[in-house]
Symmetry: C2
Subunit: 335 residues, 2 copies
């Protein structure tokens, strides 16, 4: 799984099961793999969680990252168990001798280390008087230098805060200072609706500037929502393709069809479709034909009748009771 350079921006998430429960964790990893999650991180809070990693690693194929705080010995155990990457929080492992022990093994096994700075865990006495963005960058740079001094270069960096503006400033700064791949995230972003929007704003700004090599959306919900949000962010900037894209009009006092219900029904039918097809569901003659023509398959609904387009050509005129089936038949033809 290449990260950085010309590689596609990778989507990651994190299991929310108890890592000590290997079978529940493997089950959740499989759910994430089905959604297209490409890197999966697991919290390793204690020795028993670390011991569980070997069995988990054997059961799945996706690259797994161990998330370590405080105790460097857990990082050593995780690598012993065959984990593919480490995330260390420099705010929480401050002893450079401990870090050097981890780095020696990581180097030997070619295990990448992400320096994962998080606004909430910057030591209170660290560079007071400087901005949050500056402190995040500086803390990461301290750690980068430590790893570089040990001739270790398999580094990724993240600088996450809930504050979108501070996060954006921090990533922009570090992108100028280091060549390492950047893992983007807005931390503790909240419940799915507000959290996905907040993450989309922050990551959208950075991705649009070419900053970011892998992303994780943090949501208080099942991690499948994090993967879904991540792909929607990437799709909106044409950075990745994943499944169908639905263009649908918001409906208004001009609509002559229940275009919201039609869009929902189409979306429901598309749930298990993998192919990146663009489908337009439009409610009137104002923008309808234009948008429907531009999609792979589209319908522009008028008064009791709608026109179906395939790759810009009118292929059928259908009556209202047949909108859904006629549209889905064209979608099936394209897919």
């Amino acid at each position: 799984m290449p990260i950085g350079g010309d590689a596609p921006i990778a989507v990651q998430s994190m299991t929310k099961t108890d890592t000590r429960d290997a079978s529940a964790t493997v089950r959740q990893i499989r759910e994430l793999e089905e959604r297209g999650c490409e890197i999966i991180r697991l919290a390793v809070p204690d020795k028993r969680a670390a011991e569980s990693l070997a069995a988990i690693r054997r059961s799945v194929s996706t690259p797994l990252i161990a998330d370590i705080h405080f105790d460097y010995r857990l990082a050593l155990s995780a690598m012993e168990a065959g984990i593919d990457g480490l995330r260390l929080n420099p705010g929480n492992i401050r002893d450079s001798e401990h870090i050097s022990k981890v780095v020696a093994v990581a180097k030997q096994r070619s295990v990448p280390i992400r320096i994962g700075v998080n606004a909430g865990s910057i030591p209170a006495d660290y560079r007071p008087g400087t901005s949050l963005a500056q402190r995040m960058v500086q803390l990461a740079m301290d750690q980068i230098r430590l790893l570089e001094d040990m001739d270790f270069g398999l580094i990724k960096v993240s600088l996450k805060a809930f504050d979108v503006a501070a996060t954006v400033r921090a990533y922009r700064m570090i992108a100028k200072k280091t060549p390492y791949p950047l893992h983007l995230g807005i931390t503790e972003a909240g419940l799915p609706w507000a959290g996905a929007i907040r993450s989309a704003v922050g990551m959208g700004i950075l991705l649009n500037e070419g900053i970011g090599d892998t992303i994780r959306v943090s949501l208080s919900s099942h991690p499948r929502d994090e993967v879904s949000a991540a792909y929607e962010i990437l799709k909106s900037l044409d950075l990745r393709e994943r499944g169908p894209t639905l263009v649908s009009c918001p409906s208004c006092g001009r609509s002559e069809a229940d275009v919201v219900a039609l869009a929902e029904a189409v979306n429901e039918r598309l749930q298990n479709m993998d192919k990146p097809v663009k489908i337009a569901v439009m409610g009137c003659v104002v923008n309808g034909p234009g948008e429907a023509r531009d999609a792979d398959v589209g319908i522009a609904c008028g008064k009791g009748r709608g026109v179906i387009f395939r790759k810009g050509e009118v292929v059928a005129t259908v009556t209202e009771d047949n909108y859904l089936e006629a549209l889905m038949a064209e979608v099936a033809r394209i897919a």
Copy 2:
């Protein structure tokens, strides 16, 4: 309702009722007002819809905009009915004589006109060979000149496409060319989840650059979702305040509490709260205390016990069965 300059970025939406049905439309306008919608647009597709506007205008206080396509006479009727603004789509009213009749009345009544360009309705023969962004900008500039030539300056401009990158490029271009307030939107963005994320990416990029004076999120759903998404976008960049903000951790294999369920319960209790209070619900000792300390009220849950913070100070240690009530008691104290 000032738009542009130093005015706060205004949130708008559009009714999805049949405008000819005045009472249903007034009901939906009131639902939108309750959510904080500051400008409400109504489609005026025909004479009967235009005739309905006077009764609607008398029943509510929020500024109302009439959305007009094709028939300039509907714009004249809407102004007659006391509407506060017009949205005209230059792709759909191309006769400059008709536009001049509308402008004469708008000038006399000080009714602002939004030149609302939409990718789906650009005439097929308009400047072929140029990019979508260029065509949207050029079409708007043509219309701006027409209005300026009539000494009309109460202009707003929007350039909406489903394509986020093209929309961003178009707004950046026009922001350099004109001093008029810009209304931002990503058109036909789809169902709420994907549509809100797509809109957040597009508008987030622009707002972060200082581009945009009023926003409308277009979603295929009840317009209250559009208002909610708009405020979440603006809140994430600290451009507006609106109700509480929930900082909550995504939970992971380290969590010793069901932080997702707690965050959902807190959110449920906050539904009717107007005050812009920042509340943190955190699941462990890694980032928990740091984030909880940074919020107005926060809880950092540990093993069976949690610590409650108010404005950075520990105010209580509570047992697991009391997390929700103890947290909400502090929230009530702050509010």
